[in-house]
Amino acid sequence: LAKSCPGQETVTLYLRGVALRGRRPRPAPPSTSPPPASTSHPIKQEDNLTETRLVSHSQITRLYSRFTSLDKGENGTLSREDFQRIPELAINPLGDRIINAFFPEGEDQVNFRGFMRILAHFRPIEDNEKKSVAVSEPLNSRTNKLLFAFRLYDLDRDDKISREELLQVLRMMVGVNISDDQLGSIADRTIQEADTNGDNSISFNEFIKVLEKVDVEQKMSIRFLH
C-alpha cells in the first residue's frame, strides 16, 4: 500500500545537510506545481556532502506537494492551525504533542526544511549508514529517534520527565475508566522502573537505558520515507 519509490532514478538529496543547515536562509518557496528541478534546487547545493542517505526525488516532490496542500495561508510556512486541520490528528491522543514537536521553541511557523527535518527522524536506518563516518549523528539515529520521543514527554525541556509530565501523557493514553489515583500509581511505578538516581524523574539517559531492549530503529521508522 505504501507508495514505493522508483529506486533507480533517485536524485541524491541530503536531508541531513538540510537539517544541519537549518539556520541558512530558506530558499524561496517553489511554485505550487512542483517541477522536480525547482523543488530540488535548494537542496542540490548540498549534493557534495559526504555521508547521507538517498531520498528519492519523487518523495521530496510528494512531500513538498503535501506541504503546500497543508499550507492554507500559502506563505511557505505551516502554522499550528494548518496541522490541526488534519482530521485524523484530532482523534490521535498524542496529536497535539506531535504538532508541537514540529515547532522549534518559541516559534509558531515551520518551513519546508523544518518540516522535512522532523520527518527525517522517522526514516529507517540503512546498512550503509551504519558504516559511514558521520560528522555528527544523522537525525534518524537511534539516539535522535529516542530524543524525539523523549521530547514528547518533556514539555518544559529540562531534560527530565517528571511525574507530572508523565501523568499528563498517561492521561492522554489511557481510557477514562482508570481513576486518577490508579494513574498516579502507574506513573510512580513507571518512574520507579526507569529512575536510577532516585530523583523521582526520568532523565534522558535513564530513558535510553530503560528502552535498551526496544527495537527503536524499527518501531520509530516509516517505510515510505525512503
Binding site: 500500500l1 505504501a2 507508495k3 514505493s4 529506486g7 512531500l63 503535501r66 496542500s69 497543508l70 496541522f83 488534519i86 485524523e88 490528528l89 482523534i91 490521535n92 498524542l94 506531535i98 520527518l119 522517522f122 529507517p124 520521543a149 514528547l152 527530565k160 517528571s162 511525574r163 501523557v169 498517561l170 493514553m173 489511557v174 481510557g175 475508566n177 482508570i178 489515583d181 490508579q182 498516579g184 500509581s185 502507574i186 510512580d188 511505578r189 513507571t190 520507579q192 522502573e193 529512575d195 536510577t196 532516585g198 530523583d199 523521582n200 524523574s201 526520568i202 530503560v210 528502552l211 531492549k213 526496544v214 524499527q218 518501531k219 520509530m220 521508522s221 516509516i222 517505510r223 515510505f224
Partner: protein, 830 residues
Amino acid sequence: QGFFTLVNSLVTVSCGAVDRDVQQTRPDSRPEPPSESTPNQSHADHGHGSSAVGGIPVVTFKWHHVETPYQVALWILVAGLAKLVIEANHHVTNVIPESALLICFGFILGGIIWGADKVQTFKLNPTVFFFYLLPQIILDTGYSMPNKLFFGNMGAILVYAVIGTCWNAASLGLSLWGCHQGGAMGDLDIGLLQYLLFGSLIAAVDPVAVIAVFEQVHVNEVLFILVFGESLLNDGVTVVLFNVFDAFVSLGGARINAVEIIKGIISFFVVAFGGSLLGLVFGLLISLLTKVTQKVKIIEPAFVFVLGYLSYLTAEMLSLSSILSITFCGVSCQKYINANMAESSVSTVRYVMKVFANGSETIIFVFLGISAIDTEIWVWNTGFILLTLFFIFVYRIIGVFFLTWILNRYRLVPVEFIDQVIMSYGGLRGAVAYGLATLLNESKIKEKNLMICTTLLVVYFTVILQGITMKPLVNWLKVKKAAVSELTLIEKLQSKVFDHMLVAIEDISGQIGHNYMRDKWNQFEERWMTRILMKKSVRKSRDCVFKVFHQLNLKDAMSYVAEGERRGSLEFVRNESAFIDFKKKFVDDCSGAMPDITACMSDDYSAMSSMSRIDQVPSVSLEMHEQNMKGVRETEDINTHHLLQQHLYKGRKQHRHRYSRSHFNVNKDENEVQEIFQRTMRNRLESFKSAKMGVSPPKKISKHTKKDQQQKNGKRYFSERIKSMIGNVCIPLTPFPLGPAGIENPAYIPDLDPMAAEIPPWLAEYDAGPVAPSQRAQLRLPWTPSDLGRLAPLRISTRSNDSFAQADAPAAQQKDDEPPTPSKRDGRNM
C-alpha cells in the same frame, strides 16, 4: 490382527520377550485375550455371549467390545511414554530435536511390530491424521498466534505461501519431468501431470514440522513468523494445487483447456478466502458465545474446542481449506474469548489446547516413523528419489532468495541474508505431505508407492537431518535470537506512544501506509467488534497500560506474599492500617516535594535521614500494593477472604465429601486432619512435659472471642509470639483478639528469650492463635520473624539494590533492641 501386533509390541517393549512367532501361525483370528501372561490361550473367550451360556458369568472377557478404543488409548499411552523417555535426558534433546527422536522411536517401534508380525498394520492413516490429529495442532497455533506480528508481516507471508509454494511445485514437477525425459530415472510410468501432482503435494512446508523444530531454536520473532506463517497459509495453495492436478490427471492431458485452468485459478481464491472467511465466522461465533456463558463456566472451554473443530469440519465439508479455516478461527477469537471468559476457563483453554496439540504432534511423529517399516511402499528409484531431494532443496533456496529480494524493496526492515539462509533451510516437509501422498489414487497413478516412499524420505531428510543441523547452523551464522524481554510499564507505554506517533506522522505526511491502515482497523475494531463481541464489564476495564500495571502488581503481590509466608510475617495481609499509614506517609513525602519536583526532590532526599530513606523504598512498594487493592478492590477482597478461608480449618461438617459436576475444588481435607491431629498430640505432649519439668502452667488469657478448641495450653506461646512479632514488625495487630496482658504485661518479657532458647525443634514450628492459621500458611516460621522492611523492596529496582543493604542493617539492629521498644518506624507509622 491389529490387536495382535499391538499386544506383541507392548509385550515386546515391556518384557523384552522375543519369541512370539507362535502367534503368527494364525494371524487371522482376531479375538485374543490381551493378558500378557497367556498370549496363546486364544480360545478362552470370544467376546460377548460366549461364556454367557452357563448362567450368569462372574467375569466375562470382552476384548472385541473394547478393541478399537483400547488400541487408541494404548497408542496414546505409548506415544506419551515415548515422549517421557525422550525428554528425560535434556542433553540429547539439546542436540537432536524432539521430532527427530520421535520419528526414530517410531522406527524402533515399527521394527518391533514388523519383527513380530511380518506385516505392517499401523500406518498414519490420512483420515485419522486429517480429522483427529491435525485440527488441534492448528487450532492451538491459531489461538496462540502473535497477532500483531502475524498481520504486520502478512504481505511477506502471503508472498512466500502463495508464490513460493506454486514455484516449488511447478519447478519440482517440471524439473523431474525433464530429467525423466532425459532418462535419468529409467523406466517409470509417470507423465507430466503426475509429476506436477507430486510436486504440488510435496511443495508445501509443513506447519507441524516447522513448529517442532523452530520452537526449540528460538530464532528472532520476525524470522519465525515468516517461516511459520508461510507453513500455515500455504495449505490453501497445496489443497488447491493438489485437487486441480488430481482432477487434471483424471481428465487426462488432452482435455485440459484454458477454461479448466481458469477454473483452477478461481478455485484457488474460493478455497483460500472461503476457508479463511469461514474460520472468521466461527471465531466470531465463539466470541459471541463466550459472552453469555458465565453461568456455565465449567463447560465454557469446551465451546472453544467444539466450535473450532466444527470450523475445520465445515470447511472440509465445503471443500474449502480447512487448515486456513481453523487457523483464522483461532486467530480471530483469541482476543475476545480471553477477555470474555473467566480466568480459570482461559487457562483451561490454554492448557488443554497445549495438551492436545503436543499430544497429537507426538503421535504424528511416532506414526511417521512407524509408517516407514513397510516393505510395500519401499520402491527404490535412485534417480527419482535423489533428484527430488536435490530439487526440493535447491528450488526452496532459489525461491526464498528471489522472493525476499523482491520483498526487501518494499519492507521497512529488510530480511537479512542469514535469515534468508535459515528460511530456505527451514523448508521442512512433514505429515501433511505424507497424508496427501497416501490419498493418491493408485488406479490413476501407477507409481504411487514410489511417491509415498519418496515423500517419506523427504520428510525424514528434512525433519531429521535439517532438524538436527538447524541449531548448529543458527548458532554458527549468529542468527538474531528472540530477545527475552521483561514486562515493564515504560516499554508498554512507549510502544503505545510509538504507535500513535507513527500514525500521526503518516497523517501529517499524507501517506496511507501500514500504520494508517492499522490505526483504521483498530478504530473499527474498537467501535464495532469489541462492542459486539466483548462483555460490557470487561470492555470497560480494559486498558493495556493498566493491564501491565495490574500484572506487575499481581506478580509483586504474589512474591510478597510468598516471601511473607516464608518468613512467617503475613500480618500485612490482615492488617490494612499498615498500608494506609505507609500510603499517607508517602503522599506526605511526595506532596512536600511536588511543587518543584525536579529541584527539590534530590535535596529533599539527601536531607532525609537514612531511616527515612529506607522507609521510602518500602513505602513505594507497599503503596503500589495498596493502590492495586484500591483499583481492584473487590477481587482483592475476595482474595483476602479466600486466603483466610483457605487457611482456616474447616468444621467437621465441611469435611464431608463434596462432589459437584459443576464445581471444581481440590480437596485438602486429608492434610488438615493430619495437621490437627499432630498438633493436638504435640499439645498434649507439651503439657505433659511442662507439668513434669515444673514449668508453671501457662497463664490463661480470659478474653478471647474466637473459640479455640485445639489448644488449651497454646495461649501463652501464642501471645508471646505475637509480642515478639510486634517487637520486630512494629505493625499494630488490631484484628487479633489479644488478652489485655498480651502486650503490655512486662512480666512476660523476661521469659521470652529463655523460652526461645529452650524450645525443642518440634515445638519451634508450633504456632497457633485463635484464628488457627494452618501450617501451610506459615511454613518454616522462624522464631523471630524478621521485619517487614526487608520484605518490602521485593521488586528489585535499580534503586532498591542498595536499599536492601540499608534495610538489612537496621533490621539487625532492631533485632538486638527487642523486646518491644517501639521503634522509630513504629512511631512514624502509627
